[in-house]
């Protein structure tokens, strides 16, 4: 029975479905796959920008007392590097995978609200461009990615820098929230028949938990930013000590958001490797239920540890103790995940393809980042570590060694499905080794630099500190990383120029997306599959006693898909215009806000009453 249903997918012969092309089709698209590609392309562009910023930082630090960058330029660059990497690179790269693959993995034709999905993307890209536009005014944000009050007050930061940051992040927050509602509902509601919650692929589970985190964490930073905005524009004193305000409130609100945020960055990565490892070990994921629950537990605990970023603020011994212990607790569910991954490859038949390289690299590097995290969790020890390069080492191990390695693994794994083209294995492996070496060369010495006395966010240091050689190693490492990313770019371009001949199932995959052609047709599944197990495709192949025939492209006639729409993009412009209007209050008066609001309302009403 199941065989027939899924079998039907591949046997319906017909004319190819004509896909729309052209710029307008991208602006009005509501196809989750195209939106995914938009997310991916934009995020990768931002990743390159963020990486370039990092390179400049590293060049500046390559010599003591260097004057390559002015102090102000350095401050702008590290702030934008952090902000870009977190909000404009890793989060939207994850969003690319949510968009493209959640519907495919759960056997759906699209997300629950396709137009809302387009809206999210357009808000995101406008926010990202707005943030980066600050460079044109020589006023890029310059107070660090967590912008501690009261440095961000008008008194100490009178320029536009902080305005750009504050407004930009609010715009991005709206994008994240809209997307989170959408995917939360999609996962709950659009699963194919038989796809019970405990049959969902692990990537879907981790993404689902990530949406919950987004929904709960982003409102908090929104409020923190609103209070800052009121301080800066309307003369309130939320963070102004002279009037009784307390800058520490910012820190609490920021990190109530900020810590869940780091799990927002890592959980999708956990999901990706949980897909890759079983496929390339030819063995199901070890301890599926434990993986689900540990993911949920990590997310839940993530709301109770925020003050571990504030140990040096002197919160008092009881608060320190509570937050220290809760933080340490997170190592347990995370350890469970690591062990289950090792359990997955244990006894498997490991196929060392590029995605697997990156997945294994992820485990190895993330463990190191996690262990240094546990070292920070001890407040007395953290009094030495905090705000030094030891912390910088920690978070690059979890963010780059964790998120970026896993996202790269996902890119190699799913590239054929997304674009119908294979990435080159040989270049992929060169990419991997360059990245592994460059990464460790850049960030491993940072542990020592930090312990030996290098504070973070300093635009230079003097030779007397003895830290020159460590910094030089790091700079060389960053150059190797540059080569690694260049190799990846080359691989992409090469695939682009090559034939579009990727098979539907190049890796002997276990999940639904491998049952349909590469790249998928707009409606994904000609017929919605019925699911009976966690690894539906493996089950099917086992029943058949061998690989499945290549699925044919079908006409899709009679399948109703949502129409393209221009209104989401227009509404997004309204949202951005309204918030930018706040920033232009002194120039335009309320008119900017009113114009943006009008555009927003116009967009929303047209959207609401447009037939889907």
């Amino acid at each position: 029975m199941a065989t027939t249903v899924t079998g039907d997918l591949r046997t319906q012969a017909a004319h190819a479905h004509a896909e729309p092309t052209g710029l307008w089709s991208w602006i009005t698209t509501v196809d989750h796959k195209r939106i995914g590609i938009l997310y991916g392309a934009s995020a990768f562009m931002f990743f390159l920008i963020g990486g370039l910023e990092a390179l400049l930082l590293r060049i500046q630090l390559g010599r003591p007392d260097n004057t390559f960058l002015s102090p102000d330029a350095y401050n702008q660059l590290f702030t934008m590097h952090g902000t870009t990497m977190i909000f404009l690179a890793v989060m939207p790269l994850s969003a690319m995978f949510f968009n493209f693959f959640i519907p495919l993995l759960i056997g759906a034709r699209d997300v629950a609200f396709p137009r809302l999905n387009a809206f999210s993307y357009w808000v995101f890209i406008l926010g990202g461009l707005f943030l980066n536009a600050s460079f044109l005014f020589h006023a890029a944000p310059n107070a660090g990615w967590f912008g501690y009050a009261n440095l961000t007050s008008t008194q100490y930061s009178p320029g536009l820098n902080i305005d750009f940051w504050m407004i930009g992040l609010q715009i991005l927050g709206i994008a994240s929230l809209a997307a989170a509602v959408n995917f939360f509902v999609t996962v709950l509601n659009l699963r194919a028949p038989g796809m019970k919650l405990m049959r969902m692929p692990m990537f879907v589970w981790m993404s689902f938990i990530t949406q919950a985190l987004l929904l709960l964490a982003f409102p908090v930073i929104t409020v923190a930013l609103i209070l800052l905005m009121f301080d800066r524009f309307f003369g309130t004193h939320f963070y102004v000590p002279s009037a009784g305000g307390d800058p520490i409130l910012w820190q609490h609100l920021f990190w109530i958001f900020g810590h869940p945020e780091v799990y927002i960055l890592i959980l999708p990565a956990f999901g990706i490797v949980s897909e890759v490892l079983p496929v390339f070990s030819r063995k199901p994921l070890f301890g599926y239920a434990a993986m689900v629950f540990s993911g949920a537990f990590i997310a839940f605990l993530g709301f109770g540890v925020w003050s571990h970023h504030m140990f040096s603020t002197g919160m008092g011994p009881i608060a320190d103790t509570v937050f220290s212990l809760s933080t340490m607790l997170i190592a347990i569910p995370t350890g469970v995940k690591i062990f289950n991954w090792i359990g997955t490859i244990w006894g498997g038949s490991i196929q060392l393809k590029t995605p697997m390289y990156f997945a294994l690299g992820f485990i190895a590097m993330f463990i190191m980042g996690g262990l240094s995290g546990v070292m920070h969790a001890s407040p007395p020890a953290d009094l030495q570590q905090t705000d030094t390069y030891f912390i910088v080492a920690h978070f690059h191990y979890v963010l780059f060694g964790g998120s970026i390695f896993a996202l790269t693994s996902g890119a190699y794994y799913w590239w054929p499905k997304m674009f119908g083209r294979m990435l080159d294995e040989k270049i992929g492996k060169i990419h991997f080794w360059l990245m592994l070496i460059g990464f460790n060369l850049t960030f491993f010495p940072m542990h020592f630099a930090g312990l030996l006395g290098m504070p973070r966010r300093v635009y230079t240091y003097s030779a007397e500190t003895g830290l020159t050689w460590l910094n030089q190693l790091e700079t060389v490492g960053a150059l190797v990383l540059f080569l690694a990313i260049a190799a990846f770019l080359y691989n992409i371009l090469k695939a682009w120029a090559g034939p579009r001949n990727a098979p539907a199932d190049p890796w002997n995959g276990a999940t639904l997306e491998w049952a349909i052609p590469s790249p998928p047709q707009p409606f994904n599944f000609a017929e919605i599959p019925v699911v009976h197990s966690r690894d539906p495709l493996w089950e099917l192949k086992r029943e058949r006693g061998g690989p499945l025939p290549e699925p044919a492209r079908v006409s899709g006639a009679g399948i109703h898909m949502p129409n393209p729409s221009f209104w989401p993009a227009l509404t997004a412009c309204g949202v951005a215009a309204m918030l930018i209007g706040v920033m232009l209050l002194p120039k335009l008066g309320p008119w900017g806000i009113i114009a943006g609001g009008a555009l927003l309302l116009f967009g929303v009403f047209n959207w609401a009453f447009e037939p889907a």
């Binding site: 609200f113 709950l188 028949p193 929904l215």
Partner: protein, 216 residues
């Protein structure tokens, strides 16, 4: 093959009420998700208000009198009576909208229009109450800049007021639909979703009212 046809149907009407994996309507689930998220939004604002309670360096204060250094005397600024009326109106509006929904679901157009109209009126009165309260405070010398109480009070109640305003606009839209006979029972969900949002705005006030106005 009835089940296959049925399955294809699932994907076909993505934004309409159709069979979903949970059997729940996606839009209703979405508004609940959004409401869950809003809980954290208001929690942050209420948290800020509480953290700054009693920490203003200068008056006027919510519950205490204050004599400024220049010798000007300020009464406690909050007007409990006025706000109690507003609170009651908002609570009743919750009752009204649920009656309107009941009407919509049963196809009783009169019931729907009457109670929906009443809801909108209550909402408008509430907004009017707040506008009056705000201007009154400003005249009495409390602005958003004056002190921490002013800042956190206006921000918290102001954002709540903004939510009420959005709710009113939304309900008016639904009211117009109903007037034009575009809200038949099978589309009552359009009102149900707006009503859920409206109730949420109401329960937020249920928290704000004692926290801001009644606790000294």
């Amino acid at each position: 093959m009835a089940d296959t046809a049925h399955a294809a149907h699932v994907g076909a009407h993505l934004e309409t009420h159709s069979e979903t994996s949970t059997g729940l309507d996606s839009r209703k689930l979405a508004i609940w998700t959004f409401i869950g998220s809003e809980c954290l939004f208001f929690a942050s604002l209420i948290g800020t208000y509480l953290v700054y309670r009693g920490r203003s360096l200068v008056g006027p204060f919510p519950h205490e009198e204050w004599v400024s250094p220049a010798g000007v005397h300020f009464e406690p600024i909050l007007e409990i009576k006025l706000v109690t009326v507003g609170t009651a109106l908002l609570l009743f509006s919750s009752l009204f909208v649920v009656l309107a929904l009941n009407g919509a679901q049963r196809g009783r157009r009169g019931q729907l229009l009457t109670w929906l109209g009443m809801t909108i009126l209550c909402g408008m009165f509430f907004i009017g109450m707040q506008v009056y309260e705000f201007t009154h405070f400003v005249h009495k010398g409390l602005t958003i800049k004056t002190n921490l109480f002013g800042a956190s009070f206006f921000t918290l109640t102001g954002f709540h007021g903004t939510h009420v305003t959005i709710g009113v606009i939304w309900l008016i839209t639904v009211f117009i639909l109903a007037l034009r006979r575009k809200l038949p029972p099978e589309k009552a969900l359009n009102l149900e979703i707006a009503a859920l949002y409206w109730h949420f705005v109401d329960v937020v006030w249920v928290v704000i009212f004692p926290v801001v106005y009644l606790m000294k």
